[in-house]
């Protein structure tokens, strides 16, 4: 390993511009003649749209659906049998199906002026009963969002693997568990700046996107353009987390507008739009039964899961990915013989959902891990004992689980053992027994999960959504001065790819990373890619860069051998130079020769030069499996319901770490979002479908005083199918905290006989649970419970 190669905690190349305020985000782009757009949005969740009245003085500055002739709605289908597709009009016509749905588009010299015009537009709506509850939405008499469907179900799935064999288990526990709807809330909202480039005959659209190539394809289809006529530029992106993995109706509207009006236009999402109108995530409901033996052996899991998918199917992930994923990943890292799961992806009068960091894993981890703790209580075991009994064992690897997920490698019990050793369970139990002087209750909770990342063609072909990842391509190209350009179709929204992909190239070619430039975020200059999602960047783009740079290395060695007057087989590439027996020639000299002194090359030289574009796929494309054990220790105040995280431990196995510092950053950041999911973040709607949070004063993001520094430990079990043994792990930190913290809170409340099964675990829910336990008059003797 060089000091800048794979495995080095290199400082980030991208930091300096951000630290000086010189990053370039969408909102920072200034184009001559640019005007601002504001939207008229639906104030109602469900209504017939009877008319839009644009005052005469604003004709030509305001546009409704009837103006957007030839523009197609956004349609994101799934190939799963029975899926019902929605048509999301880019501006509403006939009906609105969520608060915040776009009705009209207004253009002004400033955003304020555009908003003034928007305020002058009258919208005639006839309110319809709204569907705000996903369980009620499934009832036969529920109002319908998409009438021609006949119900409100995007998709229902069912799997039964011998569930009956579990029915004679001595332990059977059933609970209803649910997770709140959330907003992803990257610090930078969405935004679009767009103009028509008449020289290139091309629509140029700047948008902070995780997947510029997918946006290009979708946008071209909606606007009826050839894809050569669309260029998407994703500049610096201020956080994504899934929220920027979507084709927006706003993108389509502004694309049409730029072509019509001939000057650049801009829309920047404000925070109110983000919270009330932008895509949401995470709202799950489980009715789940677990079957186990008295020794804690898990016999079966039986579940009915419902996901609130909102009003429309989002492009490209569709409305069904989340619920269908629930069915396939609910078993988590556990080995058990019987399983049944029925899922519903339900349409409601709310914002569409998108996969948020962790996607369905956060919900299923919460549901299953809470149930495993109940088994432990019923069986009189420590929660870790139940996990140890059922976790996939290292000698089973590679392991195909009950839903045919292919676990590539790892030692899951060892991760848990290390976490337990770090937590010092014994002293936490002792402290818990002793009691706190301030009356708070101590609890400890754990959760183990696996994170399938970088799943490829074989997995996504089955979903049949508009996007199926194939080979990930990268271009590597030496420059005449011995530098290197890398071009990739994934995009960084904080993941440090400018540094980590340069490290991969450095590992192969030995070129110092200061001389390596990553070109990404522009469809004009990068190979096609499905983009950055699913913890795939390090595995897929890293693998592609390794493959392409190896090819450049081969070309360089051939030229170097010629310059050294020897053959390519007898030279080696090391430390940025080609070495033979007679001497060495640097890559810079080789590049200089290829580009500027071709007269020194033999006629037989490989005409591909010092440039290669190659695709990469891991040996198996079913995904890498990183995993972790999380342990939370909390103090719960039974008087106020306040929860403090006293200690948090994460033992993570992400395979080979390209840059351990960056990996820790991903884990810390994921953990912080997990704390938000566990304790604070909740996007509620009232019964008429009105969103009840519109500012950060009522949608609570965790701040510096809410997120402690977790103690992170690593294992590095190399992935067997990927370059360097890398595993995807970008989402993991956000998966387990609601489960670990939820279990810790329930452990703390155990002496009161109270339990909470809805996240976030807020003070109000804690107090309600305590009150309910008191009402039920079933106090459980703490000593007795300790057995």
């Amino acid at each position: 390993m060089s000091d800048q190669g794979v495995g080095a905690s290199v400082k980030r190349k991208e930091d300096d511009r951000f630290l000086r305020g010189r990053g370039q985000f969408v909102g920072d782009i200034r184009l001559a003649g640019m005007k601002d757009v504001a939207f008229v949005r639906s104030p109602l969740a469900h209504a017939k749209l009877r008319a839009v009245h644009i005052p005469d003085e604003h004709r030509g500055k305001a546009f409704a659906a009837e103006d957007l002739v030839g523009v197609k709605p956004i349609v994101a289908v799934s190939g799963l049998p029975g899926f019902k597709a929605s048509e999301q009009p880019v501006l509403a016509s006939q009906k609105v199906r969520q608060v915040g749905e776009l009705i009209a588009m207004c253009v002004g010299r400033t955003r304020a002026e555009a908003e003034d015009i928007a305020a002058s537009i009258e919208v005639d709506l006839e309110e319809l009963p709204a569907v705000h509850d996903m369980l009620a939405a499934r009832l036969p008499n529920a109002p319908l969002l998409h009438e021609h469907w006949g119900d409100n179900t995007f998709l229902e799935t069912f799997v039964d693997i011998n569930i009956e064999a579990a029915f004679d288990a001595p332990i059977k526990i059933t609970r209803e568990i649910s997770t709140a709807r959330q907003c992803m809330a990257p610090m930078e909202g969405r935004g679009t700046v767009v103009y028509w480039d008449s020289r290139m005959d091309q629509l140029v659209l700047y948008t902070g996107s995780q997947m510029p190539h997918i946006v290009r394809t979708g946008l071209a289809e909606c606007l009826g353009l050839m894809q050569t006529q669309v260029r998407i530029v994703s500049p610096d992106v201020g956080g994504g987390f899934g929220y920027k993995g979507i084709l927006l109706p706003e993108d389509v509207c502004l694309g049409w507008l730029a072509m019509r009006c001939g000057h650049p236009v801009r829309w920047l999402e404000d925070r109110r739009e983000h919270l009330t109108a932008g895509a949401n995530c995470r709202e799950h409901h489980y009715r789940i039964t677990v079957y186990a033996d008295r020794d804690g052996t898990l016999r079966g899991v039986d579940c009915e899961a419902t996901v609130d998918s909102g009003a429309y199917s989002s492009y490209p992930f569709s409305a069904c990915l989340e619920a269908a994923q629930v069915a396939s990943i609910l078993p988590g890292p556990y080995d058990f013989p019987s399983y049944r799961c029925r899922t519903w992806s339900v349409a409601t009068n709310k914002c569409p959902i998108l996969p948020y960091r962790g996607v369905a894993r956060t919900g299923v981890c919460y549901a299953l891990e809470l149930m495993l703790d109940l088994i432990a209580r019923e069986a009189g075991l420590e929660p870790f004992e139940v996990r140890m009994k059922n976790l996939v064992r290292p000698e089973q690897m590679p392991f195909d689980n009950i839903t045919k997920k292919h676990f590539d490698s790892g030692d899951y019990p060892e991760a848990l053992r290390r976490a337990l050793a770090t937590a010092d369970l014994k002293s936490v139990r002792e402290r818990q027994r002793r009691g706190e002087p301030d009356g708070r209750l101590i609890g400890i909770g754990l959760a183990v999960y696996c994170e399938q990342g970088a799943h490829g063609t074989s997995v996504y072909a089955g979903w049949g959504i508009p996007m199926v990842p194939g080979h990930e391509q990268a271009t590597a190209r030496m420059t005449p001065d011995g530098g290197l350009e890398l071009r990739v179709g994934v995009h960084s929204h904080g993941q440090s790819m400018e540094t980590t992909l340069a490290q991969v190239a450095n590992e192969i070619l030995g070129i110092e990373i200061a001389k390596i430039k990553l070109v990404h975020g522009d469809t004009e200059y990068t190979p096609y890619s499905t983009g950055s999602w699913g913890s795939r960047g390090a595995v897929m783009a890293g693998g592609a860069v390794a493959t392409a740079t190896r090819e450049v290395a081969r070309f360089a060695k051939a030229i170097g051998a010629h310059l050294l007057q020897t053959d390519a087989e007898s030279v080696v590439l090391r430390d940025g130079a080609v070495h033979g027996q007679s001497g060495s020639v640097t890559l810079a000299e080789i590049a200089h020769t290829w580009y500027r002194r071709p007269q020194d090359l033999p006629t037989s030289v490989d005409p591909r030069g010092l440039e290669a574009t190659i695709g990469y796929k891991p040996g198996r494309d079913s995904g890498t499996f990183s995993y972790a054990a999380h342990i939370a220790t909390v103090a719960v105040d039974p008087e106020t319901g306040d929860i403090e995280i006293l200690d948090y431990i994460i033992v993570e196995d992400g395979g080979k770490l390209i840059n351990p510092m960056v990996v820790d950053g991903q884990i810390y950041g994921g953990f912080a979002q997990g704390v938000g999911t566990a304790l604070y973040e909740e996007m509620n709607f009232d019964s008429s479908g009105q969103p009840l949070a519109s500012t950060f004063a009522d949608y609570l993001l965790p701040g510096p005083t809410e997120v402690p520094a977790p103690r992170v430990r690593h294992m590095e079990t190399l992935a067997p199918y990927t370059e360097f043994g890398v595993k995807g792990l970008g989402e993991g930190g956000a998966i387990a905290p609601p489960a670990a913290i939820g279990n810790a809170v329930n452990d703390a409340l155990r002496s009161l006989g109270a339990e909470v099964f809805h996240s976030p675990t807020t003070p109000r829910r804690v107090l309600e649970a305590i009150a309910a336990a008191k009402r039920a008059k079933t106090p459980v003797e703490f000593e007795e419970m300790q057995g």
Binding site: G23, A112, R271, S496, G669
Partner: protein
């Protein structure tokens, strides 16, 4: 429209603004000082934090017309500032930024902590930073970076 004159990063800035124009928009939209980021427009997230007469303020909820004769320093004006320079190095060392969107506001607030607080505890730093939200880093690197600059200057 109202005329307003202020000093921004040492240069005089005069502009005709609407009463509703906030300071962040004035700086970003007409003077290309885009390092001041807008994250919530209601004074909670702290991304737009800059200095007015040496004090950190939320430029998204500060009207431009209220800044007559004020001395404004944005992130771009801290290039040569000694504490900001130390903070930049510490932020890089401790991986205190990922997407970089909250970073200018964080640097401004962190600089204020370094100047104002004698020997802050970790908790004290967290409380002092609690007006700045970050969605990427979990605050671990940010707190460590501020701690390292504080202790390095002691």
């Amino acid at each position: 429209m109202t005329k307003v004159s202020l000093t921004v990063n040492g240069s005089v800035l005069s502009a005709e603004v609407e009463p509703r124009t906030n300071l962040a928009d004035l700086l970003r939209e007409t003077h290309n000082l885009t390092g001041t980021h807008i994250g919530c427009e209601h004074g909670v997230c702290g991304a737009c934090t800059l200095l007015v007469d040496g004090v950190p303020i939320r430029s998204c909820i500060t009207f431009a017309v209220a800044c007559e004769n004020a001395k404004v320093t944005t992130i771009e004006g801290l290039d040569e500032d000694e504490i900001a320079r130390e903070l930049r190095a510490a932020f890089t060392t401790h991986h205190a930024l990922q997407c970089g969107y909250c970073t200018p506001g964080m640097i401004v607030s962190a600089r204020d902590i370094v100047l104002r607080m004698e020997a802050p505890s970790e908790h004290g730093i967290r409380v002092a930073l609690s007006g700045n939200l970050c969605r990427c880093t979990g605050y671990v690197g940010i707190v460590r970076a501020v701690q390292s600059v504080v202790s390095g200057r002691r």
